[in-house]
Symmetry: C2
Subunit: 119 residues, 2 copies
């Protein structure tokens, strides 16, 4: 990021004090990244529906596929994403793998967001 005129506005900062306040109260980079990462995982309709489905208790991959009306494969791919981000847990029982919410607390985000979405 070069420090020339094309890059930012030409004064050092239009409102230096406001910039300083904003800068000093900003989150550490890693927290910003983690925050965005979590929201990004939540920001897909398929994954949203999987998390909603698991609200009522554990389900196997086949069950989830039926609830969503989607292929086993794509559900499994998304379950992997959710697993990798510690949003769901898997438990194998014979041939069947059961999934549960790793931390139902995460659904608090759904509630808050729904309030916003519903205005």
């Amino acid at each position: 990021m070069p420090d020339d005129k094309s890059y930012t506005c030409q004064v050092r900062a239009l409102h230096e004090d406001a910039v300083e306040v904003a800068r000093s109260s900003s989150l550490p980079d890693d927290e910003v990244f983690e925050l965005a990462r979590l929201f990004k995982v939540l920001g897909d309709p398929t994954r949203t529906r999987i998390l909603r489905a698991l609200r009522s208790g554990e389900l196997c991959v086949c069950d989830i596929s039926h609830v969503l009306g989607m292929s086993i494969s794509s559900v499994s791919h998304q379950l992997r994403v959710l697993r990798e981000h510690n949003l769901v847990k898997a438990r194998r029982e014979g041939k069947i793998v059961f999934y549960t919410l790793a931390d139902p607390h995460v659904l608090d985000l759904h509630e808050t967001a729904l309030e916003h979405v519903r205005e």
Copy 2:
């Protein structure tokens, strides 16, 4: 989505009752979509940092660019996304456009998510 064996598991559903419960308590499609859409917008580090910066009050595009250390252009592009999703509001004063949070309530999502991220 064809209804053949390659598509889902071979029984109608492994746990029909659980599937029925999950299905009947699921969100309407449009709410799922809106929910995911909101999280998706929140799920980018640049946009996260913009929203955090605006927490301390209104800033112009140039200010935000300074706080983030990013080009005016990319900040403006992201502000457009935030505007289109009603997360920020713009107010023009002469040559300068000031941005504010459209609904600071949205930052409640940050707080809740930060708790989760921080374990």
